[in-house]
């Protein structure tokens, strides 16, 4: 390239940049400005149920083998005079293919979404339409009453600049805290008869696991705990809960919203973890192990550590299932036994554990339905009917009694042949016995009192013994992602916080520098999030007033 060509290239680039810089620009979206009015006059919208409506429906079916035209789909089509055009995706496709579908102008009529930031993006990018609270209350009042009981914070997930976009969903079981497990044979070997349920007794058990040779091989090669920190929600969360904290989420203190990770009690919890690390009770490889798939579980199975978190589904303790944690452990070591870990008690002696909260997801409606709002009404009526009619609920999730499943006295739903053995066939028909929550066509939970009649009694015993909802600590806003600036700050702040906490635990950063970390956390955008969270807390009360959900605190 000669000198003239270089000068020409340079001048051209400068000119282009200058022109672009001078182009008149529109100010970025003002999050406080009211939205333009919806073109739908809901007061005159009528849904003639004699008209067959074709509805495209996108979601994650939960079965790889799910196929369009399942028995459940056909039953719903017949019952509600609709034709369902299903779009099934796994999580990977949901992240990658769904944006392409939306950008290609092919937004489905109904679309499930699990993330408030994603819902907000769909709103800002004008993919979905608003649905007034009054319309939902009119066509799905029973559903709303259950939502308000089990996951009313989800109303924030569909809220944007004064309006509601879609139908929030709930999962009753997500109000229950998560639990871990102990190696029972190790506890026996080191002379601990009472399963630890306080920070002090947990410390003692971890200490004996490290120093009292619980596996009896004569070597000091065991640790108490290999904490999994691969996801912020699981990082030391059982210990933080004992200090009444959700360290990586918003918490409520004296009627105000604050961030758990900046509170003085968080500093205390970190100091405890630091002492445990110094005493060699934590596996020093826990940071690296957490970055790899299932290494933490494998180390537990191989007898490197004696405590694992989380392990909170009852089937994990079923020794007759070779694929369960109990089954795998016993195959490796016939003497190995595990036992659910009771939640650690806080200073007031109350068990506490981190819970997601019952506020679940959002069922959104494509913006094209502004031209066919009767489809929204038909879907709301369908959801309402499934909520009210328990038989229909069971048929929408598990198939028909006598055809797909049966129920014996004192037992849960049991699938009939061939559904009970053929996983592919079961998946193709989307039969989810006992899956009381997050189904494809009814992505919400059900009243717990009704579940007791149809769920496996072993499940109910486990949940009611170890995971009582009143022991759960959950985010008062449902998910921290609901604040408007979450997309800009939240991930980076959680990463920053994780780094600082791990550095404090392993001694790379002194616990005494906690206040400096808090200052930096606020400077990096935390102060903005705190302000917005408190604003949202007030907004939430206004929403609750509109939907009849009562006070912001759970009733």
């Amino acid at each position: 390239m000669n000198r003239n060509a270089l000068i020409f290239t340079f001048v051209t680039i400068c000119a282009v940049v200058l022109i672009v810089a001078l182009i008149p620009t529109r100010p970025r979206t003002d999050i406080n400005a009211p939205l333009p009015p919806s073109p739908v006059n809901w007061s005159i919208v009528q849904d003639d149920t004699n008209n067959t409506l074709t509805i495209s429906w996108l979601g994650i079916p939960g079965y790889e083998a799910a196929r369009p035209g399942s028995w459940i789909q056909q039953m719903l089509e017949e019952r509600f005079n609709i034709r369902l055009d299903t779009i099934f995706m796994d999580l990977n496709a949901f992240a990658k293919r769904r944006p392409l579908i939306l950008c290609g102008g092919q937004a489905p009529d109904v679309m499930w979404d699990g993330f408030p930031t994603s819902v907000r993006n769909n709103i800002e990018n004008r993919f979905i339409m608003s649905v007034p609270y009054s319309v939902i209350l009119q066509h799905a009042p029973t559903y709303v009453s259950l939502l308000n009981r089990y996951g009313k914070e989800a109303w924030l997930y569909s809220y944007y600049r004064g309006e509601n976009f879609g139908l929030p969903t709930f999962i009753e079981g997500a109000n229950r805290p998560r639990v871990g497990c102990w190696r029972k044979d190790w506890l026996d070997a080191v002379g601990i008869t009472k399963v630890p349920d306080t920070v002090e007794s947990m410390h003692e058990a971890l200490r004996r696991f490290r120093y009292n040779d619980p596996d009896g091989n004569g070597k000091k090669d065991t640790y108490g705990w290999n904490p999994y920190i691969g996801h912020w929600s699981l990082a030391f969360s059982e210990l933080f809960a004992a200090y009444d904290l959700l360290a990586f989420d918003f918490v409520e203190r004296d009627g105000k919203i604050t961030w758990g990770g900046i509170l003085p009690e968080c500093r205390e919890a970190l100091a405890t973890l630091r002492r445990w690390y110094e005493e060699e009770l934590l596996d020093p490889d826990f940071v690296v192990d957490s970055q790899q798939n299932q290494v933490t579980e494998r180390k537990f199975q191989n007898g490197r550590a004696g405590y694992l978190f989380p392990l909170d589904f009852y089937t994990a303790y079923d020794t007759s299932d070779p694929a369960s944690m109990s089954g795998i452990l016993q195959a490796l070591n016939p003497n190995a036994k595990i036992i659910p870990a009771p939640l650690l008690k806080n200073r007031d002696g109350q068990p506490r554990g981190q819970a997601w909260g019952g506020a679940a997801h959002v069922l959104q409606f494509g913006r094209q339905l502004e031209q066919q709002p009767e489809k929204v009404i038909r879907v709301l009526e369908m959801i309402e009917a499934i909520t009210k009619d328990k038989t229909l609920y069971l048929e929408s999730t598990s198939g028909r009694e006598g055809l797909h499943w049966t129920k014996q006295a004192g037992a849960g739903i049991e699938l009939l042949p061939p559904w009970n053995t053929d996983k592919q066939l079961r998946g193709a028909q989307m039969l989810a016995p006992g899956g009381f929550g997050c189904m494809f066509f009814y992505p919400a939970g059900l009243d717990y009192t009704y579940q007791t009649a149809y769920r496996d009694p072993a499940y109910l015993r486990f949940e009611d013994t170890f995971k009582k909802p009143e022991w759960g600590l959950s985010n008062p806003l449902g998910k921290s992602e609901v604040v408007p600036s979450a997309g800009r700050y939240l991930n980076d702040l959680r990463n920053f916080q994780m780094t600082v906490f791990v550095e404090m635990v392993i001694g790379k950063r002194p616990i005494a520098s906690f206040d400096e970390y808090v200052t930096e956390w606020k400077q990096r955008g935390g102060a903005v999030l705190l302000q917005e969270a408190n604003d949202m807390y007030e907004t939430m009360q206004q929403i609750f007033n509109q939907v009849g959900a009562g006070e912001t605190r759970n009733d």
Binding site: M1, V20, I23, P24, L102, Q292, T499, K508
Partner: protein
């Protein structure tokens, strides 16, 4: 214009001359299409960097944002650290990684046992075909506190080393494993260049009494120099590409401060569907790469009186 100039121009004409060349032109069609579809047409997407991009409105109907995305990018509190990390890792890769394939190729070139040479060559470039998802799993296991590397260190009576959680050691592992993975593949080009050296030069040097070491210094390296210069200039274009897949699979919270690079930063923005900011970061990378390539090429041309340059 003279006749000879006319004939020279005719020879380098890009237009097809008769049927005899149609097959050659057809052969170029897939390549041209490939570059058009995957490299040139997507360049139009760079305009997103100057827009308040809205997926629903599309590229054309989204509002212009001028330089706002770049102001946001450079104004971000994370960005200085991200740039520093990217440049540090890239420059270290360039400093150590650039010469590794050359040395490997020279060593392979000295082997006389052909079977042994081919086995070594195959083994050396085999890692290039493994994904970093697999390789990172191996290295994390190898260099963890209880891994084989530290077991060996303990056997020697020394204290274990925090290979994966200490800033300096992590970068060292990153660079070293990166070189291990790519040196064999990089050596292939140099081996091809070595095979093009006229053997007469070596014969003449042998007759003159030159040792193998002297032959390497006076014949092999000077003959390799144009290839090295070309590859160096091209590699400068990727100075802001520090190896996303390797870092993403190997880093952990204790080394975020030294391993958060432009690509991991962009990924976070993309996950929040902040496409315009991500496009601005991508464009920034490309412009810096372009400036470095043009600058290095011009410098090389000037220093070698036009003998060694890409164009």
């Amino acid at each position: 214009m003279t006749d000879s100039t006319h004939s020279r121009r005719k020879k380098i004409s890009l237009l097809p001359r008769g049927r005899c060349n149609i097959d050659l032109w057809l052969m170029t069609v897939p390549v041209v299409l490939f570059f058009l579809i995957f490299n040139y047409i997507p360049m139009a997407g760079m305009v997103i960097a100057f827009k308040d991009y809205n997926l629903g409105d599309g590229i054309l109907h989204s509002a212009w944002a001028g330089m706002e995305n770049f102001v946001r990018l450079f104004g971000s509190s994370d960005f200085p650290n991200v740039i520093r990390n990217t440049l540090t890792i890239s420059l270290l890769r360039l400093s150590f990684g650039f010469f590794a394939p050359v040395i490997l190729a020279l060593m392979l070139n000295e082997l006389r046992q052909q079977v042994y040479k081919r086995v070594i060559q195959t083994l050396s470039y085999l890692p290039y075909f493994f994904s970093w998802v697999i390789l990172s799993g191996i290295f994390l296991m190898l260099f963890s506190g209880s891994g084989p590397a530290n077991m060996f260190i303990k056997l020697l009576g020394a204290k274990p080393v925090a290979f994966l959680t200490n800033d300096v050691w992590f970068i060292t592992v990153l660079i070293a494993t990166g070189i291990w993975q790519s040196a064999g593949w990089g050596a292939v080009i140099y081996l091809a260049a070595l095979s093009g050296i006229n053997p007469v030069l070596y014969e003449a040097a042998t007759i003159d009494g030159a040792t193998r070491w002297q032959q390497m210094l006076t014949i092999t390296l000077p003959c390799l120099a144009p290839t090295m210069v070309t590859l160096f200039i091209l590699s400068l274009g990727g100075i802001l590409t520090a190896g996303f897949d390797q870092i993403y699979n190997m880093y952990n919270p204790l080394v975020y401060n030294v391993s958060d690079i432009i690509d991991t930063y962009v990924l976070r923005r993309m996950m929040d569907l902040d496409m315009d900011l991500a496009a601005a970061a991508g464009m920034f990378k490309s412009v810096v790469g372009l400036i470095l390539i043009v600058g290095a090429n011009t410098l090389s041309k000037k220093l070698t009186q036009g003998e060694q340059s890409v164009w």
